[in-house]
Each structure stands twice: as structure tokens, then as C-alpha cells.
Amino acid sequence: MVDAVKSGFRRLLVLLACLALPHGVVAHQLDEYLQATLVSIEPEGIRLQMNLTPGVAVADKVLVLIDRDNNGKISTNEAAAYAALLQHDLAVQLDGRPVDLKLNAFNFPETSELKTGWEMIQMDFSVDHGSLGPGAHRLKLENRHLPAISVYLFNAEQPTSKLIQISKQERNKTQSVGEIEFNYVPLATNSKTVKYLASATGLIFVLAVGIWKAVSSRRST
């Protein structure tokens, strides 16, 4: 009960603060849903880490999609259902082919906190692409989730592995669509050691052939 009163008071404070702004200056973020995606590309896999922040004026429009039974609480099932809804609105392509997303984790604040417009939902997806072949690749993400109220950020995280090199990053103006070009150079084709081994193997082969020929010519004489 006390918590409910406190959260209600907090929301009231936000609304009062918004109302206290000079007339005509209330814009953006209050009435926008910021969806920020960080794309992590590593040899082990590709992940989308999303921070979703609904502004106070649109929080109810987002919450109605989450708190389906409108009981003021976000159950695990409701959270998972919203994650699935978001997932459905994310179109991902790898090298021009659609790929699926797998939900790894999510974190939802309390509904009362979401309603303040300051709190964020966090989602973590991995791209289900099978094994990544060596060479150049292109990842494309199109975020079609709630476009009427949303603004987007799309950024590639700098890979921690030197086997992945990002060569280009492109976005449309609103960042609802982003593309990343990258190269994957697996260890087997990257390692100097492997190159040395290949050279040594070749040398041994040539030597072996030479010795075999020499031995053969002695026998024949």
C-alpha cells in the first residue's frame, strides 16, 4: 500500500514537472519510445542488446502491451509475451537471408517505475545463424516495433575478438534500419603458425620427394 502511494506520488511528481515546463516546450522523450540496440559480433555468436525506454507520455501505450491483465504487475509470462512481440517486429538478415532470433534474457522494471518515463526495459537476443563461415558478411536489422511512437539507436559494439573486423556501419536516417559489414577470419586461416606449418609441410614434402628420387635412382643403378 505504502509502495503504491509512493509510486503514485512519484508519477505525480513527473507529471507535475512536465506540466511545470513553459507552454509549448514539452516534446520528445516524454512522448517517444527510445529503442537503443547494441549489436555484438563475436566468433561465438551475434547478440542484440536492447535498452527500451518509453517516455512518460507514451508509457501507457507500451504498458498496455505488457501488463495484459492490467493488474499493475508484470508477470514472467507477460514479460516473455512482450519479448516475443518485440522479436516478431525485428527483422534480421545475415548475408541477405532472414535469420531467427533467440531470446537470452530480459529485465523489466516495475510498472509504476515504467510509468515515470525514466526506467528502461532490457532485452538480450542472440542471432541464430549456425556457424559463421570465414569471409565477408553483412548483418541487417530492421526494427518495426511501434514506429508511430519510437525513436531508434543502432550501433555495432567493437568486437573483442581480433578475428572479427567491422568494415562498415550504415543506418537509415531514423536508425530503425541498420547494416553492419564485417569480416570473419577464423584462427585456422588467420594464424601465422598455420602458415608456417603449411610452408614447413610443403618443404618436407619437396625434400621427401627429392630423397625418394635419389634413393630410387641409386637402386636403379
Binding site: 513527473v14 511545470a20 516524454l30 550501433n155 556501419q169 537509415n172 531514423t174
Partner: protein
């Protein structure tokens, strides 16, 4: 020399502001060693009773507290530590001494201007007494709503942190013996320009001026590289993105002239110079060494008053400046972040 005179003048002017305010200021700040900083912190702790002391010092292993900072008002994201509004005058003086020891004079000045700006926000925009929609006045803004805490016991040799922050300010200073960093530190301002005792104050004004000077120095081809075609609505590496590094973009330092590289370094110094002089000097030397690999990125209008996003990113530093349209005028509401790739909270000095 002229810069020093201006700085001293500004500090003297500021000292008169804060005498009656939350944190006083004098012009005796100078570069301090970790020993002196820890001594100031211990002195502050000695002014506290047992309960207060327990509330201000966290274990160095407390990751939750280490990361408990935000651009948001403290009403929405609770900070740890002690609230300035709950301290006595003597204890506030103790906080002042800690900050003056741990920050450069210009770093301290910037922090105090941000705090004072929040007081202006409280009085002018958000529920000052007498406003019909909030007659009682709101407590979410103003200089009472800033907090100080230590993560770890102050020490000249062992790692520990000083955290000072509230709305639009999160200074996270990690000290580990001879090493010091402020990564990650958030500065912001709303209003970005305000009048105080007949003077115009711009807490982040130099950042704007220097960024536009650099942008205006670029030729057409360089601008094509530097300016992104997409809108940047916020910081990419704001609160909650610790340890992350994004793919650099824009124009690379190696494609800048020597003069433009100097301007890029000068722009970065607005954040680096928040640190004590010795630490800032080391960091700037580091930045200079990597200037060819440091990128400058721009998104948004290329004319002042400055509601464009920009980023400075090199191997050892990431700085973002992101105007916010919450409040209507993006040039009047700013968020920035300073990070060091691989060294947020000075982890490279104390993690194994």
C-alpha cells in the same frame, strides 16, 4: 597566461556564489596527490557520526554501489551515500575539501556550475514556490539533492572510489595508488545557459564552442566523413553500458591536419581536465600519442546554438555529447559521458 587569469577570475567569482550555497569554493585548489585526496576524505569522515559514516563508505567490492549513478534526478534513481541537504555546514565544507582535492580547479568549477544550474532549474522551471501547479516546491532538483559516497576506504595505496552526483552529474573517481581516472563520468546541464548574479554561466559552454570550432575547420571532404546521415537521439554509452566500446566512425585523426588534431585534443581536454592535474596530464599525453587513431563524429545541425550530437573516440577514451529535446530546446539540455575503453572504474589497475 591569459587562460590562467581568466580561470582565477572565474574561480574568485564563483567563490562568492557558493558561500551561501551548498558547497563553498576558494581558489587554493591545485594538483593533489592520492595521499592528499585520501587525507581530505578521511578528514570528512572524521566529521561524521557512526551512523553517517556507515552510510557513506561502501566495500570496494560492492559492484552495485560502484555502478549506482545516473543522469536522472535522485527521486528516480536513488544514489547511495549522504545527501548534501542532510549535512551540517561543517560537513558540507568537508565535502567541498574532498572535491577540491580530487578534481582540478576547472573540474570543480564545472561540477559546481552544473549543481548550481540544477538549483536554477528547481527555482525557474520545476515547481519553485508559488507555482500554481506545484505550490509546495519540488525536491527533485537543486543543490541539496547531490550525494557523496566512497567505495572502499580512502587510501593512498589501495584502490578506492569517490562518487559525487545527482541530476546531470555523476563523477566517479577511482584512485589506485599513483593512478587516477574519472571513467565513467557523466556531465550534463539544464539549463545549458543561465544567469547568476548578473553573469551568464554555461557549464558545458567550452565543449560546444570547441566542437563547433573543429567542425568549422573541416573542409567539404572531411565533413562528409565526419557527419553521420542518421539522427542520434541519446548517448550510446550512457548509464548501464559499462565496459562497452562501440565501433568508431566519422573522421579518423589521421585524416585531420596537425592543427585539427590539436583542436580535437583540446576538445577532449574539456573532459580529461576534470581530473587532477597530474592524472589529466598523463591522460592527455596518452590521447596525443593515439590522436591518429582517434575519431570525431558529428550528427545533427552544423550551425550553433548547438543541438548536434558529437563523439570523440580513440583507443583510450570515448566521449559523447548528446543534446536532449526533453524541455523543448535541445541546446538547453545536454547529456555527456566520458569513458575509457577497458578501464571504466580503473579496472585495469585492480582486477586480476
Amino acid at each position: 597566461m591569459i587562460k590562467k587569469i581568466i580561470l582565477i577570475g572565474a574561480l574568485v567569482a564563483l567563490s562568492s556564489w557558493f558561500v551561501s550555497s551548498s558547497v563553498a569554493l576558494d581558489n587554493s585548489a591545485a594538483s593533489k596527490t592520492t595521499e592528499e585526496i585520501s587525507s581530505a576524505a578521511k578528514n570528512f569522515l572524521s566529521l561524521l557520526d557512526e551512523t553517517h559514516r556507515a552510510g557513506v563508505v561502501y566495500k570496494f567490492t560492492d559492484e552495485e554501489q560502484r555502478k549506482r549513478w545516473s543522469n536522472l534526478p535522485t527521486t528516480f534513481v536513488k544514489r547511495g551515500g549522504l545527501r548534501l541537504g542532510d549535512l551540517t555546514k561543517q560537513q558540507r565544507d568537508g565535502v567541498q575539501a574532498v572535491l577540491m582535492a580530487a578534481l582540478s580547479p576547472q573540474g570543480y568549477q564545472k561540477a559546481m556550475e552544473i549543481v548550481e544550474g540544477d538549483e536554477v532549474l528547481k527555482k525557474n522551471d520545476h515547481g519553485g514556490p508559488g507555482r500554481p501547479n506545484n505550490p509546495g516546491g519540488a525536491s527533485m532538483f537543486g543543490h541539496d539533492e547531490y550525494y557523496i559516497s566512497f567505495v572502499g576506504e580512502p587510501s593512498p595505496t589501495e584502490p578506492w572510489m569517490i562518487q559525487f552526483g545527482g541530476h546531470h552529474l555523476a563523477i566517479n573517481i577511482t584512485l589506485a595508488g599513483e593512478h587516477t581516472t574519472i571513467a565513467p563520468t557523466h556531465t550534463g546541464s539544464q539549463p545549458a545557459t543561465y544567469e547568476f548574479e548578473g553573469k551568464t554561466v554555461r557549464p558545458l559552454g567550452h565543449e560546444v564552442d570547441k566542437s563547433f570550432a573543429l567542425l568549422n575547420s573541416l573542409n567539404e571532404a572531411q565533413r562528409k566523413q565526419a557527419i553521420l546521415g542518421s539522427e542520434m537521439h541519446d548517448l550510446v554509452l550512457g548509464p548501464g553500458r559499462d565496459g562497452k566500446t562501440i565501433q568508431p566512425e566519422g573522421i579518423k585523426g589521421s585524416d585531420l591536419t596537425d592543427k585539427q588534431q590539436e583542436m580535437l585534443l583540446d576538445l577532449a581536454s574539456e573532459w580529461v581536465d576534470i581530473m587532477p592535474e597530474a592524472a589529466a596530464k598523463d591522460k592527455m599525453a596518452d590521447l596525443k600519442q593515439h590522436v591518429s587513431e582517434t575519431w570525431f563524429t558529428w550528427s545533427g545541425p552544423i550551425e550553433k546554438p548547438g543541438f548536434a550530437y558529437f563523439r570523440v573516440q580513440g583507443p583510450t577514451v570515448i566521449i559523447e555529447y548528446a543534446p536532449q529535446t526533453l524541455g523543448g530546446d535541445p541546446s538547453n539540455h545536454i547529456h555527456t559521458i566520458y569513458r575509457e575503453p577497458g578501464n571504466d572504474y580503473g579496472t585495469k589497475w585492480w582486477t586480476r
